[in-house]
């Protein structure tokens, strides 16, 4: 498998140290890395799955809009970050399909663009909401 750009490698290293769940995708929307906190969101372990294609992510979790959130960005935050090369922040319900647990989350997604303005991928960070 070809080596990833150093920017993506450094994003992974940073994600490995963070408390919040982080997904890193390449330009094809394949999840190339998720950190340990994200394993709790997805219900699988990176050491066991390695990369996950977008269809597999859909089999693991389902995102639905949160009507209580008020006006919000429509669509999938990572796709928006990748296709529109801009950051997004949304509120969603996340259903973990394996055990049907529902989590209320805020998601920050942003593109990874290098010095040559080449898009390399995107990052999604999940902030679990506590209380109402």
């Amino acid at each position: 498998m070809a080596q990833l750009p150093v920017e993506m490698i450094l994003v992974r290293q940073l994600a490995g140290y963070l408390y919040v769940p982080v997904l890193v995708v390449d330009t094809t929307s394949t999840v190339v890395f998720y950190n340990e906190p994200a394993e709790r969101i997805l219900g699988v372990r990176f050491e066991e799955t390695g990369r996950i294609d977008p269809e597999e992510v859909d089999r693991l979790i389902e995102l639905s809009e949160d009507p209580a959130a008020g006006p919000d960005e429509a669509g999938r935050p990572l796709i928006t970050a990748l296709q529109q090369r801009r950051p997004v922040h949304v509120r969603r319900w996340l259903l973990r399909r394996g055990d049907r647990v529902r989590l209320q989350v805020e998601i920050t997604a942003f593109p990874i663009i290098d010095h040559d303005e080449r898009q390399l991928g995107a990052v999604a960070m999940f902030w679990e909401r506590q209380g109402p």
């Binding site: 498998m1 070809a2 080596q3 990833l4 750009p5 150093v6 920017e7 490698i9 450094l10 992974r12 290293q13 940073l14 490995g16 140290y17 890395f33 290098d114 010095h115 040559d116 080449r118």
Partner: protein
Amino acid sequence: MKVTPYGVRGSLAAPGPATARYGGNTSCVRVTGPDGSVLALDAGTGIRSLALELPSGLRRVDVLLTHLHMDHIIGLGFFGPLYNPEMEVHIWGPASATLTLEARLRRYLAPPLFPVLLRDLPCNLELHHTGRGWFSIGAFRIRAARVCHPGPTMGYRIETEQASLAYLPDHEPALGARRFPLDADWTSGFDLAQEVDLLLHDAQYTREEYPRHVGWGHSAMHDALAFARLAGVKHLMPFHHDPGRDDAALEAAIGAAVAEMNPDFPVTPAAEGRSLELG
């Protein structure tokens, strides 16, 4: 392909009797191709001596800068071909997100740091922003890629029909890794170094020194060996020796790392003037 180090020291020149065996000049390596093409890898203090030994008939030389830290460019102002109107000098190196390579070099080649302006150099000077990917110089095919080191930093893979070389003088692929090495696809510099005949790689610190220097952009000797093993290189030349390490200490430190790691490839600490013929 002939590879000759003219400067092997990292961070700061360290001349004197205690470093005479390996040399005290900062990063500079000459690579001579089968067609006589000459590359100078980095422009540390060693590049002054490199210039003195260029063939008299040579009309073009290419300087490949990995990055613009001072120990890699400080010799540029003393590089003879820049002052020769008959010479064609090509300087390759990284731009930053906001500055061109020329603008970045002008910060050094201008007062108050240097008396001669870049634009006043009499040679035929061409500057090339080195992006990712392949380019050719004479008989060389060269691949450049960003590698893990503070600021825009390139590593180079240089190939001819007969041989291959990777030059990663300032490189900290173990940065942030809980275990090292990770898989090849998650290891900075892997594609450049994969199965090369010779890898010149940062090995500034001992394993004991490294924890006090994490994030400075340099490697422990053990990590350089592990990286070389992962990449399947045929020969490792530890490079960018710490300026505080004298010859005896350098040999002892690298010897200890080699004894512990037991690599299945030769390991030869880079030394000024000690050439290797590849291919």
